[in-house]
C-alpha cells in the first residue's frame, strides 16, 4: 500500500469522497430526519472547507499537480489535475458551498414535517461533488461525467417540490438546455481529441494531449464556438438564459444560491479551460464575439431583472447580467491576448475572475437572504412584502450588504471587479484594430448603463422587500430566521466586505492564475503604492483603496451618529406625513411594479408587455369608480423569438414521424419490404 501524503489533490479528493459517501450517511440516518439534516450539512460544510483549503494551497503553490485514477472504462482512466486555475475555482465553489452548507442546516429544517428531505440531502451532496469534480477533471471523459452528474443532481434539486406543474416544467426546461449544452461540449471535446490524436485512437481524450496539440485555425474555431455555445447554455448568456428565471425561483433557496452562485461559474471555468489552456491560439474576433454577447447579456439581464416582482426571478435575471460582465472580461482577455498585450490581458482576466468570485459571494448571499425571507413569509412576490427590516433586522443587514455589493458601490467587492473591468475598457485604445476601437467605447458605455440599472434594480429589491410598511393583503407571523442561517449569511457578507477592502491581497494571490493563462503579470504594477492602494497599471492612471473608502465611510457615519445622538431630544418619531390626505393605507406605497415604471416606459420595446387597466364602476355613478384593477404581464421576448419556433417545429416533425407508426404488423412489414427492394435496386 502506498503512503498517502497530504497534497492539495488528496485534500480535494477527500472532499469529493466525503460528499459522495454522504449518500450512505443519509441512508443510515433516514429514520431521524432532524439528525440527518444536521449531520449531513455539517459534513458538507467540512468537505467544502477542505476543498477551499486545497484550492488556496494550490494557488499559493502556483504549480500544477496531476494524478491518474484507475477507474472508469478499461484503458480510459480518470485523470485529475490541480493547477492554479482549477485551484481558484475550487476556492470559489468551496467557499460559497461552505457558507451555504451552514445556512442549509437551518433552512432545510423548515421543510421537516412537510416533505421528506432525504432526497434534498443526497442530491445536494452529489451536486457539490459534481462541481468539485468538474474543476478537478483533466480528461474529457471525466469532465463530462462530472458535468452531467452536476446537471442531473441539480435537476432533481430543482424538482424538489415536484407537486407543482410549474416546478416540473422549469426542471424539464433546465434539463433540456443542459443537455443541448452538454452535447455541444461533447462535440467540442470530440473535435479537439480527434485533432490531437487522430480518430482511431483514444489517447486524445486527455487534456494533456489537447494541450500539446496544435489545432488548425478553422477547427479550433469550430471547437471554440461549440464550447462557447455549450458552456454559454450553462452560464445563461442571452439568448440561452431562459432556463435561469424558471429554474432558480422554484428550487429551494440554498440550491438557488449554489446554482446561481457557483454552478454558473463552472461554465466560466470550462470556457477558460478550453479557450486559454487547451486551444491557446486565440484570434481576436473570438474575443469580440464574447464581448458582444457579454454586453447583450448584461444589458438584457438587468432590464428584465428590473421588471420582475418575484424576488428570486429578479435575482436569477441579475445572474444573467453578472455572467455578461464576466464574459466581457473574458472577451477582453482574449482580445488583448490575441494582440500580444499580456499585462492588459492579465488585468482583464483578473477582473473577470474577481467578478466571478464576487458574484458567487453576493449572489449566494442574496439568494440566501431571499430564502430567509421566503422561509419567514412563505412568499416570493415582493408586492406582498415590506417593512421586514423591523421583523428581520439581521437578514435585512446581510441582504443590504449583498445589494450594495451587487450594485458595485464601494467599499464592497462588486465595485472592485467592475472598476477593474472599466480600467480594462479604458486601456483598450492601445489596441491596433479599428474594429475593436469602435466596439470598446460602446461596450464601456453600455456597461456603465448596466451598472446604473443594477443599482436601481437592487434599490428596488431591498426597498420594496425590507422598507416601508407591509404591502400584502394578509399579514403572516414573521420572525427572524435561526442562527445557522444567520451565520451562513453573515460569513458571506463578511467576505464581501473583505474582498472589497483588501483587493490587493487577493489580486496578489490570483496573479499566478492570470500568469498561467495569459503570460502576463499584474503584481508589480498593482502594488506600486503599497498594499493599500490598488493600482492596476500605473498610479497616475487610476488607483483605488477600498480600505480608505471603508474607513472614510465609517468615520462619516460615526460623526453623523454622534451629532444626531449627542442630544437625544433632536430625534422625534411621528406618524408619516400624509400631505393632508387623511386616508393613507399600506397599499399606497411604492411597490415593485410602480418603482420600475419609468424604465418600463423607456425600454418598453425590449419586453413583451401586456398592460391592462380596468375600472370597476360604482353603482351610483360611473364617474367615481369603486376600484381600479391594473394588470401587467411581462414575457421574455426570446421565448417567442427562438424557443417557441424550435419547440413547435420539433412537435410538428414528431407528429409527422409518428404517423409512420400505425400499430399494424403489415405496415411495418411493408416498410422492411420496400427497404429491401430499394437496397437491392440501388445499392448493389
Amino acid at each position: 500500500m502506498t503512503q498517502v501524503t497530504l497534497t492539495p489533490l488528496s485534500l480535494a479528493s477527500f472532499a469529493v469522497i466525503l460528499l459522495i459517501a454522504q449518500t450512505a450517511v443519509v441512508s443510515i440516518l433516514i429514520k431521524n430526519e432532524k439528525l440527518m439534516t444536521t449531520v449531513c450539512f455539517c459534513l458538507s460544510a467540512i468537505a467544502s472547507f477542505a476543498a477551499t483549503a486545497a484550492g488556496v494551497w494550490t494557488v499559493s503553490l502556483g504549480t500544477a499537480r496531476s494524478a491518474i485514477m484507475e477507474l472508469g472504462l478499461p484503458g480510459l482512466p480518470f485523470h485529475l489535475r490541480l493547477d492554479p486555475l482549477s485551484g481558484y475555482f475550487l476556492v470559489l465553489i468551496g467557499l460559497l458551498s461552505f457558507f451555504v452548507s451552514i445556512y442549509s442546516i437551518g433552512y432545510v429544517k423548515g421543510f421537516l414535517g412537510r416533505r421528506p428531505v432525504a432526497r434534498l440531502c443526497v442530491f445536494y451532496n452529489l451536486f457539490l461533488a459534481g462541481m468539485f469534480m468538474v474543476v478537478l477533471a483533466d480528461d474529457a471523459l471525466f469532465f463530462l461525467i462530472s458535468w452531467e452528474t452536476m446537471a442531473a443532481a441539480s435537476y432533481f434539486l430543482v424538482m424538489f417540490e415536484d407537486e407543482q406543474v410549474e416546478n416540473r416544467r422549469a426542471a424539464f426546461l433546465y434539463i433540456v438546455v443542459a443537455h443541448v449544452g452538454a452535447v455541444a461540449i461533447l462535440l467540442a471535446f470530440g473535435v479537439m481529441a480527434g485533432l490531437a490524436a487522430g480518430f482511431d485512437d483514444f489517447s486524445g481524450f486527455t487534456f494533456d494531449a489537447m494541450r500539446q496539440a496544435e489545432f488548425p485555425a478553422e477547427w479550433a474555431t469550430v471547437a471554440f464556438l461549440l464550447a462557447f455555445f455549450g458552456f454559454g447554455a450553462k452560464a445563461g448568456i442571452v439568448p440561452l438564459h431562459v432556463w435561469l428565471p424558471e429554474a432558480h425561483p422554484v428550487a429551494p433557496s440554498n440550491i438557488s444560491a449554489l446554482m446561481s452562485g457557483v454552478m454558473l461559474k463552472t461554465a466560466i471555468y470550462g470556457l477558460l479551460r478550453v479557450a486559454f489552456d487547451l486551444i491557446k491560439n486565440i484570434p481576436w474576433w473570438w474575443g469580440a464575439l464574447v464581448i458582444v454577447i457579454g454586453i447583450i447579456s448584461a444589458l438584457i439581464g438587468i432590464l428584465y431583472a428590473m421588471m420582475e416582482k418575484d424576488i428570486k426571478r429578479l435575482l436569477a435575471y441579475s445572474s444573467v447580467e453578472n455572467i455578461g460582465i464576466i464574459m466581457i472580461g473574458i472577451g477582453m482577455t482574449m482580445v488583448f491576448k490575441a494582440f500580444g498585450q499580456e499585462i492588459l490581458a492579465a488585468l482583464s482576466l483578473i477582473a473577470a475572475l474577481y467578478h466571478a468570485m464576487n458574484h458567487a459571494l453576493f449572489k449566494g448571499l442574496l439568494f440566501m437572504g431571499a430564502g430567509a425571507v421566503l422561509h419567514a413569509t412563505h412568499e416570493r412576490n415582493m408586492e406582498e412584502m415590506g417593512g421586514l427590516i423591523h421583523k428581520m433586522p439581521w437578514t435585512a443587514v446581510f441582504f443590504l450588504v449583498g445589494c450594495i455589493s451587487i450594485s458595485a458601490l464601494p467599499p464592497f467587492n462588486g465595485f472592485v471587479s467592475e472598476w477593474l473591468t472599466f480600467q480594462a475598457f479604458l486601456l483598450s485604445p492601445s489596441l491596433p484594430s479599428p474594429m475593436m476601437k469602435l466596439l470598446m467605447p460602446l461596450g464601456a458605455a453600455l456597461l456603465a448603463l448596466t451598472a446604473a440599472l443594477a443599482a436601481a434594480c437592487f434599490v428596488k429589491a431591498f426597498g420594496v422587500t425590507f422598507l416601508g410598511q407591509w404591502r400584502g393583503h394578509n399579514r403572516p407571523q414573521v420572525h427572524e430566521v435561526c442562527w445557522s442561517m444567520r451565520i451562513g449569511m453573515g460569513m458571506a457578507a463578511l467576505s464581501c466586505l473583505l474582498l472589497g477592502i483588501l483587493p490587493t491581497v487577493f489580486i496578489n494571490c490570483m496573479d499566478v492564475v492570470a500568469e498561467h493563462l495569459t503570460g502576463g503579470k499584474l503584481t508589480t504594477s498593482a502594488n506600486a503604492l503599497g498594499w493599500i492602494w490598488l493600482t492596476p497599471i500605473a498610479p497616475e492612471r487610476a488607483s483605488y483603496s477600498g480600505l480608505v473608502v471603508f474607513l472614510g465611510t465609517i468615520a462619516i457615519y460615526a460623526i453623523v451618529y454622534i451629532i444626531l445622538h449627542v442630544n437625544p431630544g433632536k430625534i422625534h418619531r411621528g406618524p408619516i406625513w400624509d400631505c393632508g390626505f387623511e386616508k393613507l393605507t399600506n397599499r399606497m406605497q411604492y411597490n415593485a411594479t410602480s418603482f420600475s415604471m419609468p424604465l418600463r416606459r423607456i425600454f418598453g420595446f425590449i419586453f413583451n408587455l401586456k398592460e391592462e387597466v380596468r375600472l370597476v364602476p360604482q353603482q351610483a355613478h360611473s364617474a367615481f369608480p369603486k376600484k381600479l384593477i391594473y394588470s401587467l404581464r411581462i414575457r421574455d421576448r426570446f421565448w417567442n423569438w427562438i424557443y417557441k419556433p424550435i419547440a413547435s417545429t420539433s412537435f410538428w416533425i414528431s407528429r409527422k414521424v409518428g404517423r409512420l407508426q400505425q400499430g399494424r404488423i403489415n405496415t411495418y412489414l411493408i416498410y422492411s419490404f420496400i427497404t429491401i427492394i430499394f437496397l437491392l435496386l440501388f445499392v448493389r
Binding site: R655, G658, R664, I665, N666, L669, F673, I676, I677
Partner: protein, 219 residues
C-alpha cells in the same frame, strides 16, 4: 450432369410453384399442405445437390429439413389451428389476383437482380438463385398481404425456405453448424409464435393482427 441440372431446375420450379400456390391459397389447411410440399422439394433438392457436389453434410441438412419442415412444423401448425378453432378462410388485405401479379413482378425482378451472379458463378445450381430470391420475397409478400397471424408465420417459414434454398444453390450449403443453428431458431420461433397466438387469441378473441393496432397509444 445435364440431367442433374435439369432435375435441379425442375425442383426449383416446383418450389416456386408452391410459393405461388401459397400466395393464391385461401384455405388455411391447404396452405399448410403446400408448405409441406415446398419443404419436401427443398429437402430432395438439397440431397441431390449434396450427391452431385460431394458435400456429404448436405445429407444431414436434407434430413433435418425433412423432419423439421415436412413433418414437425406442419404438425404443429395443424394442431395450432385445430386448438384455436380457427375459421378456415384466409383473409387478405389485397385481393389475390393483384398479389399474384406483384409476385410475378418480384420473380422478374429477382432474375434481373441475379443476372450478374449467373454470369460469374460456376456452380451447377447457379440458375436457381433467382428462384430462391423470389421465394424469399414472395414469403415476405405473403406476410404483408395476409391479415391472419397463422398465415403470417407460414409466410415467415416460407421466407426461411427461400433463404435455405439460396444457400444450397449458391454455395452448396452453409456450414453445418450454421444450418443446425438456423434450424433450431426456426423451431423455437415456431414455438414462440404458437404461444403468442394463444395469448393474442385469449386477449382479443381473434387472430386478426389488425387487432394489435389497438395496442398502440392514442395519438
Amino acid at each position: 450432369m445435364e440431367t442433374i441440372t435439369q432435375i435441379n431446375s425442375f425442383l426449383a420450379a416446383l418450389v416456386l410453384l408452391t410459393a405461388f400456390g401459397m400466395l393464391s391459397q385461401k384455405r388455411i389447411s391447404s396452405l399448410i399442405h403446400l408448405f409441406t410440399w415446398q419443404g419436401l422439394f427443398l429437402s430432395i433438392n438439397t440431397a441431390i445437390v449434396g450427391y452431385v457436389a460431394g458435400r456429404h453434410h448436405l445429407y444431414i441438412s436434407s434430413i433435418l429439413t425433412l423432419s423439421l419442415k415436412v413433418i414437425l412444423l406442419p404438425y404443429i401448425l395443424h394442431v395450432l389451428i385445430a386448438r384455436l378453432k380457427h375459421r378456415k378462410d384466409v383473409e387478405t388485405v389485397v385481393n389475390i389476383p393483384t398479389t399474384m401479379l406483384i409476385g410475378i413482378v418480384l420473380v422478374i425482378f429477382s432474375y434481373h437482380l441475379t443476372a450478374p451472379v449467373r454470369e460469374l458463378s460456376t456452380f451447377i445450381t447457379r440458375s436457381t438463385l433467382a428462384i430462391a430470391l423470389a421465394t424469399v420475397m414472395i414469403g415476405l409478400l405473403m406476410m404483408i398481404t395476409r391479415r391472419h397471424a397463422v398465415t403470417q408465420i407460414i409466410g415467415f417459414l416460407a421466407m426461411e425456405n427461400g433463404l435455405f434454398f439460396a444457400a444450397t444453390s449458391t454455395t452448396y450449403g452453409m456450414p453445418l453448424v450454421v444450418e443446425l443453428g438456423v434450424a433450431l431458431d426456426v423451431l423455437i420461433a415456431a414455438f414462440i409464435f404458437g404461444m403468442f397466438f394463444f395469448q393474442i387469441h385469449t386477449t382479443f378473441d381473434s387472430l386478426d393482427v389488425d387487432q394489435m393496432a389497438r395496442l398502440k397509444e392514442e395519438s
